[in-house]
């Protein structure tokens, strides 16, 4: 069975959930081989988790290089050459996209970016794209060997599987060009709320929230539901909430089980980032707001009355 290389995303000895999604998705194309690139000692800490999610092999490249992303690209490129894998799977993130792009252009491989599903097509690799915030579904196929595929987090349900997890240490090849040097790194420490793109419930606020202080209404409801907090572009542009929480065409694309839109009119800019949510609830003063066209349940009213009441109901049910 052909190997499928999966780049492991890890931080401080913890494997990111997106890596387990990749290991699950990889099985549609072949046998997953995990690729760990990191500082000395990385491999040992990660092998249990990788084995439990079906990694047949674990390639470990330990390096203390401060070259930015180049070790990952070089290790994957040399494995593509020596193992001729059916595909290389990488999670969508700023780093992941960059590693994937550089690898594809270096190994002359198809780049199937930001896909939501992976499948075997005519002996090659195929992928499903959700385009323009889910307004279009497109199927694509690779025309080359060893395509490089980036998978959007949250698009595949993780399934545990036993893998042999045979470890093999690999060298980091010398860089072919110049690299940027990492001077310092401060990873984001996760807050108490779930990550926006991974959350199963999201409560978002729009222009109707009115101010940064009043976003506490959105946060309060979100916390009662264990939800992530999102914001529309109008709210972000007005300075109510930080940009990294923006949902929409120029922000994050989300697809949670439940999306609650508070004071969001539902311009196409916003809808494109959330319209594939399973269930959509909208609260807006304006009965003509376009958000109601896609809401499964809508309340025409004042969000400052409706949201706290809903929060109270949710809290009651929990106790």
């Amino acid at each position: 069975m052909a190997e499928v290389l999966v780049l492991v995303d890890h931080l401080d000895g913890e494997i990111k959930k997106s890596t387990f999604e990749l290991l699950t998705a990889a099985r549609a194309l072949g046998e997953p081989s995990a690729v760990v690139v990191g500082p000395a000692g990385s491999g040992g800490k990660l092998s249990e988790g990788l084995k439990a999610h079906g990694a047949a092999k674990i390639y470990v490249a330990e390096t203390d290089s401060s070259d930015f992303l180049t070790p990952q690209v070089s290790v994957l490129a040399s494995l593509v050459e020596s193992k001729d894998p059916a595909a290389v799977l990488i999670g969508v993130s700023a780093d992941g996209k960059e590693i994937a792009g550089r690898l594809a252009v270096r190994t002359n491989s198809a780049l199937l970016g930001d896909v939501v599903g992976v499948s075997a097509v005519d002996g090659g690799a195929g992928a499903t794209h959700s385009v323009f915030g889910g307004a279009f579904i497109a199927e694509a196929k690779a025309n080359t060997a060893h395509p490089v595929i980036t998978l959007r987090p949250g698009s595949v349900e993780v399934e545990a599987a036993d893998g042999a997890g045979a470890e093999e240490s690999v060298e980091v090849p010398a860089a072919s060009g110049r690299s940027a040097t990492v001077q310092s790194r401060e990873p984001v420490t996760g807050g108490d709320r779930p990550e926006l793109t991974e959350a199963s419930v999201i409560v978002s606020g729009g222009r109707g929230v009115g101010s940064a202080e009043q976003f506490s209404v959105v946060e309060g409801l979100a916390d009662s539901l264990g939800a992530a907090v999102g914001a529309s572009r109008a709210a972000v542009d007005s300075g109510f909430y930080p940009h990294q929480f923006q949902v929409g065409q120029t922000g994050k694309t989300v697809s949670p089980q439940l999306y609650i839109a508070l004071g969001i009119s539902g311009a196409i800019q916003h809808r494109a980032g959330m319209q594939t949510s399973k269930t959509i609830i909208a609260v807006n003063k304006d009965p003509e707001a376009p958000i109601f066209e896609i809401a499964d349940f809508g309340v025409v009213g004042d969000l400052f009355k409706v949201a706290p009441q809903l929060q109270e109901e949710v809290t009651k049910r929990k106790s």
Binding site: L112, Q183, T250
Partner: protein
């Protein structure tokens, strides 16, 4: 300093975007086209560096159909000095890898370049990696997603901000830098700037001019092919009620019915 800024004309994100039914490429005629917002910020960064370094020149590079000229003019009216536009029918449907190689060839025609600037991610394709891919082809360092950019002597430093955190990167010039949406507020073109832009040189290159073989680009030889595309059926609205003091309770009841709480 010789600064190159890569710009892209994209569908306005406030308009509805479509894929064409024939070859599943972006239907560029169905939407309003604008200079990508993030690229305006890349142009602004280039202009700030030019203003701080006497004798600098800013060259705008774009690849795309004829109407990409509008995006180029916008960049020139902001203050860029000249532009190079790779425009050839044969480019239609090129994949990210082909686009990267084509742009790298165009940059190769420009002589000595110190800094290549770009937006971190176009709002239409969202590959989000083309600047780093170009750097890889050219053997240059890639300093991406810059929130802050400084050049001191021959060293460029970028504060890279992404969802995953902050990384400070440095490299010797020449280098490729991509900027994020927080790096600056792009200036509005002045009337004088708009008038001046009309006289600024725009070189249009065909594939042959840039030394690119037609077989290296385009839909037919793309490394990946979109085999089908279809619009998702629009979601239809469900129940809508007026709040009569029990709106929150009604939502809760609906969520209980859906087993969501």
């Amino acid at each position: 300093m010789n600064i190159v800024v890569l710009v892209k004309q994209v569908p306005d994100t406030y308009s509805e975007r479509k894929l064409s039914s024939g070859d599943h490429t972006l239907d560029r005629d169905a939407t309003d086209a604008v200079l990508d917002e993030i690229d305006e910020r890349a142009v602004e960064s280039a202009l700030q560096l030019k203003e701080a370094n006497d004798g600098s020149e800013v060259t705008v590079v774009a690849m795309g159909p004829d109407r990409a000229t509008d995006a180029i003019r916008k960049a020139l009216s902001m203050g860029a000095d000249k532009a190079v536009h790779l425009s050839d029918e044969a480019l239609h449907g090129s994949c990210a890898v082909q686009t990267t190689r084509a742009l790298a060839k165009v940059i190769g025609t420009l002589g000595e370049v110190d800094l290549i600037l770009a937006g971190n991610e176009a709002s239409d394709g969202r590959t989000g990696a083309v600047p780093a891919m170009i750097a890889d082809v050219l053997g240059l360092p890639a300093l991406t997603h810059g929130r802050e950019l400084t050049v001191e002597g021959s060293t460029v430093t970028v504060r890279r901000e992404t969802d995953d955190g902050v990384t400070v990167l440095s490299a010797e010039l020449p280098a490729v830098v991509s900027v994020n949406e927080k790096i600056n507020e792009p200036r509005y073109p002045s009337f004088k700037g708009i008038m001046a832009a009309k006289k600024k040189p725009v070189t249009t290159l065909t594939l042959a001019d840039a030394g690119i073989d037609a077989s290296e680009v385009g839909l037919a030889t793309a490394l990946s092919t979109v085999t089908s595309s279809q619009p998702k059926p629009p979601k239809s609205g469900g129940e809508k009620v007026e709040d009569e003091g029990d709106g929150g309770q009604k939502i809760a009841a609906f969520l209980v019915g859906q087993k969501l709480i």
